[in-house]
Amino acid sequence: MKQITVMNVPEKVIIPVNDPLVKVGDMVNVGQKIGEKEHSSVSGEVIEISKLPHPSNKSVSSVVIKTIEDVSIEFHQKDNPSPNEIKKIINEAGIPIELSSSEIVILNGTDEKPYVTSNRAQMLEYPDKLLRGLKILMKATGASRGVIVISDNDSDVIESMKAAKNEKGIDIIPSKTNYTQCAEGLMKSAIGKDATAIVSTIGIAKAVYDAVSLGRPLIDTVITVKGAKEEKNVLVKIGTPLRIIIENCGGYRDEPKKIIVNGPMTGTAQYTDEVPITKNIYGIFVQYDGMIEEIRPCIDCARCVDVCPKNLLPNFLAISADNARFEFCLKYRLMDCIECGFCANVCPSKIPIVQLIKYAKSELGEQECN
């Protein structure tokens, strides 16, 4: 079965750019630089440069490009680049990863459970490209060991990755489904106990392969679409508005009540479906009526304590934050929280624990500044 559907080129793209290198009326090509780290994902005409909605719920200076025609251009790659050249290429291609020299490169192949499947789809679709991307990252950082972490539920993925792997120095580690995308720090400490490690996502490994081996900048990404009429993994151009993607997947089932980018556990609810896909989005979720719940008092059932991967007491953190007793938050190790959202997921009283923890963190951050 084909894992990833390639979406048609959208009629327009919105690309957030801080200092645009183009003006309204300019013609741009696929892969042309339009900002310091941004590239146009389509060929067309720049029709607008203004502040537009961004998935982070802010308005950000963006370039709107109207697609004129679907042209494909040849990209040129550099043969056998040195580590420093690789770093330069990755930076030029606009791939969001910090490359410092380290001993281990970890490729995070776990998906944010339960609904995201974009990593799984990519690992089934092109395991060899991912392995070569990992090799390139190892070369760039000087790492001697590469690790791919895959959820132990996805045994077919583990099999196909093992079949594709032919070099030494790369390990495939099945992980309990406890680790989430946001828990990169956790993964780092679990694998690189005494060594320095960097964590890369599957999408970044593919982009690195594209950039270094094919010379192609990061202009598209694989996302999971759920809650539209068709639910699938699609390859979309960076900057495609959510509305066009959902229309491409059959449209809304009903009047939508909530649109979320990234996983349902840690993602951000959106004000509008006109926001574009950015480089680190891996999923879109649409929710309909009947999903809003009333908040009740905490009954100290300790379900959150049982699921916390960092061994914290989320109930005490939430209550302390709610009462603005931030010194208690610190006592209960607020700063160790990785905001994975497990606690809020199992809470029978539907308390927004993660939001309260984020609030306490921001308040404490401001106190430190003063």
Partner: protein, 289 residues
């Protein structure tokens, strides 16, 4: 298009307070039915009066203080039912009424309502009744006509819950659904069984309905027990040890009531001294098991 913007997570497990409370009530129904079967309508009237008074008192209190009415969440029903199960069947009918009022007014709402109770409300009601009317609360056991089967049917029971410890097997479902936590019952049973073996106490005299109710329904009451993982082990073990001590020098019924109430006092203290340290690994084995 009107979109709702709210903090993550956007999906949540299908569990809420209503579900937890009502499933607990349902798991207690079999033992109630056995009691009604053995004791007849007197037991039924005790149960109904106790539950009704608890719900009605909560309704009046919340109406008077202009709070939202939460009698539908099942907590008041559960408190009334637990109280009734701990009563002898032939009590005067004002006993369950007074017990339920004390439970709801002084043990639940005086401390701030659901989630803020310090002492188990049902046990506070029972303790109040034992202290005030001790001869009514501890009647001579009457052997009724019928063949008793150990642990399943007890015709010589002196309290509603003592009629059938096995009828509370539904607690296993609550454990499976994680509506009650396994740490307190496990340490509780372990300590009681171990002590019974060491002190050569007859198992059937210890594992009565009251103790099973105590282990699975009273000692696991959420807001009156510790939240830390180690704290819950300590709580369960101490309850078990206290019950044996009470039982050796008094009765096991009082032992269940007072040991759990006594340990409720230590809940905050236990929590304070067992805050887990996320940077240390020695406690992480508890999570994996």
């Amino acid at each position: 298009m009107q979109l709702i913007v709210s903090p993550s997570p956007h999906i949540r497990e299908d569990v809420n307070i209503e579900k937890i409370m009502w499933s607990t009530v349902i798991t207690l129904l079999p033992v109630t039915l056995v009691a009604v079967y053995i004791f007849g309508l007197t037991a039924l009237s005790v149960v109904l009066l106790s539950v009704f008074t608890a719900v009605f008192t909560e309704f009046i209190l919340q109406k008077m203080s202009n709070k939202s009415i939460t009698i539908k969440d099942g907590n008041a029903v559960l408190i009334g039912l637990l109280l009734a199960l701990l009563l002898p069947p032939n009590v005067p009918l004002w006993i369950p009424v007074i017990g339920a009022v004390i439970s709801i007014v002084f043990a639940k709402h005086a401390f701030g309502g659901l989630g803020h109770t310090i002492f188990n409300p049902s046990l506070v009601g029972v303790a109040f009744l034992i202290i005030s009317w001790s001869e009514i609360m501890s009647p001579e056991p009457v052997q009724r006509f019928g063949v008793s089967i150990p642990y399943i049917l007890n015709y010589g029971a002196s309290r509603l819950v003592d009629t059938s410890p096995l009828a509370m097997v539904g607690a296993l479902y609550l454990l499976y659904k994680k509506y009650i936590n396994w740490r307190i019952p496990l340490s509780f049973i372990a300590i009681v069984a171990l002590s019974a073996l060491l002190l050569r106490i007859n198992f059937s005299s210890i594992f009565t309905g009251v103790l099973v109710l105590g282990i699975f329904f009273l000692a696991t009451d959420n807001s009156t027990t510790p939240v830390t993982k180690i704290g819950r082990f300590i709580f369960g073990s101490c309850c078990g040890a206290l019950i044996i001590i009470y039982g050796q020098f008094g009765g096991y019924f009082e032992g269940v009531c007072y040991s759990i109430l006594l340990m409720n006092c230590f809940t905050a203290l236990i929590d304070r001294y067992t805050v887990p340290d996320p940077s240390r690994r020695y406690m992480s084995w508890l999570k994996k098991s």
